[in-house]
Symmetry: C2
DNA sequence: TCCTACGGTGGACTCAATCCAAGTCAAGAA
DNA sequence: TTCTTGACTTGGATTGAGTCCACCGTAGGA
């Protein structure tokens, strides 16, 4: 993640303290925070940071391809910093917990030409759903 | 769809004019309307129908398994009456158009046990993305 | 036809996200 | 080092989607 800041700087990003804390908060595996959660965590380190800045920064990270947006329910979007390793998501239908998962094969290969309706298909997102161990218990 | 109303009645549904027009509006293939679009179309036939009733009715149809909720972007949920034939969705990244598609195989089979983390996995939704012919042109 | 519990209404409210005008500051220039 | 400037941040207002609620209306059984 320390590289992230350098990479962004290389792309002409102005490196502000706000952007730094947002990037730091998103560091790690299996991180799927909402914008609001990012704001709370960022504000612990930089109390004056505004929600608008968090939204702006998240949006820029998404545009730059460093973070992916995940919306597994109809509620707030979540932000996944694990953008450079392709993966899918497994979501608990009880508590909403999210895990990154790596299914076999390529979902794109399962969509035959006659099911593409002339679209130039470029990607597929898979959301697996089920009960997690603690919700099932 | 005419059966739908009978089926619902059989389950103790009180058959009101509001519920009837919502069900009628949702009739058809490749229908993926937002709640607001349903409200507009329903109001053409029954001008006094309220948004709250449309939301209530859509929610009941979802609970009864007659309609599935689809949220392909972070915006408004869409309602798909094609609930009895399992299928996935192909979404245009340009205009947002949605097609029902039927991929080969079963996505659940692609998630090996060691990627299930103890979850009782019960389903998988796949969203294919790409440019539709008119957006690509 | 009457009753009444279920369903409908609309207006207020919540939650997520975006917009905007004014103020601030990172980083290149001198 | 200081200056300058345009990119960035702020917080409050605004939008959009959806939910809630107290009161009213009516479908359908008796």
């Amino acid at each position: 993640m320390s590289d992230l800041l350098e990479r962004l700087r290389g792309r002409g990003w102005r490196l502000t303290s706000q952007r730094r804390v947002v990037a730091e908060v998103l560091d790690g595996d299996h991180v799927h925070l909402t914008a609001d959660e990012v704001h709370v965590l960022a504000a612990e380190r930089l109390p004056e940071i505004s929600r608008a800045t968090v939204y702006n920064t998240l949006g820029e990270l998404v545009t730059l391809g460093e973070v992916v947006e995940v919306s597994t329910d109809g509620r707030a979007k979540r932000y996944d910093p694990n953008a450079h390793r392709p993966h899918q998501h497994l979501v608990c239908t009880g508590c909403g917990a999210i895990r990154d998962v790596h299914p076999l094969g390529n979902p794109l290969a399962d969509l035959p030409a006659d099911q593409r309706f002339g679209f130039a298909v470029s990607g597929a997102e898979v959301t697996y759903r089920g009960l997690c161990p603690s919700c099932a218990g």
